[in-house]
Amino acid sequence: MKISMRDQMVETLEDLFVHEQRLTLLLADISASLFKDLLRKYPQRAYNLGILEQTLIGVAAGMALEGYIPIVHSIVPFLVERPFEQLKDDFSYQRLAGNFISTGASYDYSTEGMTHHGSGDVQILRSLPGMQIVVPGTAREFDTLFRAACTNDSPTYYRMGASVNPVDHSVSFGKLTVVRRGSQATLIAVGPMLAHVLEAAQDMDVTILYCTTVAPFDAETLRANSQSSNIVLVEPYYEGVLVPDIVAALKHTPLRIEAIGVPHQVLSHYGTPAQHDQSIGLTPQAIRSRIERFLQI
């Protein structure tokens, strides 16, 4: 049976802590029970600091200044939005490396209301110089990408979600994966959107690129796989974040771009994530309709 990304995070970190002595884990209550073994085993390197997220990021930066490689974990609003200035000043501006693993992507916490939603994370983190952004589509892919990037010299954000693709793909940090090639359009599916995109375009003559590293964006693979001027971008967070990267990558080509994602709206319903998907059009059927209208087929 496949495990969740969150459980995979615990397994991956428990393994890496044995081999990489520079890793530290800093929590603010979220997931503390999942990490109870690691917290007990490494009292000098793993801490649950309590509910103080600005200080959480600052403490992580302090440990990074001393040569440790911090891993910080919480849900999106409390990892990204509340301590955003600490991510900006303490990590990005100081050019420190660290790993920030979120849970609660977009409206995974659909019953809790918008204070607990996290659709804006990738958009605002994209503004930070040097910030790497990883959006895995499965637990296995999280493991692969985390191991690839966690000790490099830049701060890195990993966006875990409850919604995952049913099949693992071969992914490499910083690279788009070419899933299939076609002629009418290039579809770029980010993270857990791949399953929807594959179903939506199953009988279409299109290229499908799978994106699990949003930043740095792999412009080279896009350039090599965009024979058509039609680009469809499907993202699991606020729509259109990758459009500037796509335009920059293909700046000598006249382009038509359709950006599909979470719309900029206040979502006031509760219910299930699937009901939100239905409401805002992030289902295979709705995505197919958008592609058909865009391509006029």
């Binding site: 001393e66 600490q86 303490d90 100081q94």
Partner: protein, 221 residues
């Protein structure tokens, strides 16, 4: 005045072109000078040596006294002060660790330095280092919520290698009441001193509680 302090005042004048340094630089001058003259372990030829004590200027604004002391102590040539806040210079209005030798952490936005100092102190504890961490905050900075998060955390972690100096030049809009009592209530050991008395500053900085972080409220009248 100590002869080196006179020369440090000259260095500060070199940066500003006159003797009118800002209030922030004046209020930190004596504490920083005693810290670098009599308390901190450091080697200016090897500013990132593991065997140094760490100092974080959490209140990043008004860094002139800090720069002048670092220059006087050999971290960089005093002539650099001539280019304070200029395009050609590396000494900005807030210190940048990637540009200024001897600066541990880039600061400027209030409420960031104390949490970073806690991270440094935790790291030194994990390394089993005996070195100490000093951090300077302003009383105005103590309006920031992150400062109180950090004070609560450091007391809970019993970070005995951490000393927080509060320069109380009464610039806070809000009344802070008795700061030493507040730190003590958060499980720190705390004392209030005259922030211009070198003897009191030295005595307070050399104290180290075995179990608790230390706070020094340096009153600047």
């Amino acid at each position: 005045m100590h002869t080196e302090l006179t020369s440090i005042n000259h260095l500060m004048a070199l940066a500003t072109g006159d003797e009118k340094h800002d209030t922030s630089a004046h209020s930190t001058l004596h504490v920083l000078w005693v810290l670098y003259d009599r308390v901190l372990h450091y080697d200016s030829a090897n500013p990132r040596s593991e065997e140094r004590d760490r100092f974080v200027l959490s209140k990043g604004h008004g860094p002139l006294a800090y720069y002048a002391i670092l220059a006087a102590r050999g971290f960089f040539p005093p002539s650099a002060l001539k280019n304070f806040e200029t395009w050609e210079g590396f000494l900005g209005g807030h210190p940048d660790r990637n540009q200024v030798p001897g600066v541990e952490a880039s600061t400027g936005s209030l409420g960031h330095g104390l949490p970073m100092a806690i991270g440094i102190a935790l790291a030194l504890r994990a390394k089993k280092s005996e070195r100490r961490v000093f951090v300077l905050v302003g009383d105005g900075e103590c309006n920031e919520g992150s400062v109180w998060e950090a004070i609560l955390l450091a007391g809970n972690l019993a970070l005995s290698n951490l000393t927080c100096i509060v320069i109380n030049n009464h610039s806070s809009t809000l009344s802070l009441g008795n700061l030493a009592e507040k730190f003590a209530a958060f499980a720190w050991t705390a004392t209030t001193i005259d922030g211009r008395s070198h003897a009191q500053i030295e005595h307070a900085l050399l104290q180290r509680d075995a179990l608790r972080p230390s706070a020094i409220i340096a009153e600047i009248a």
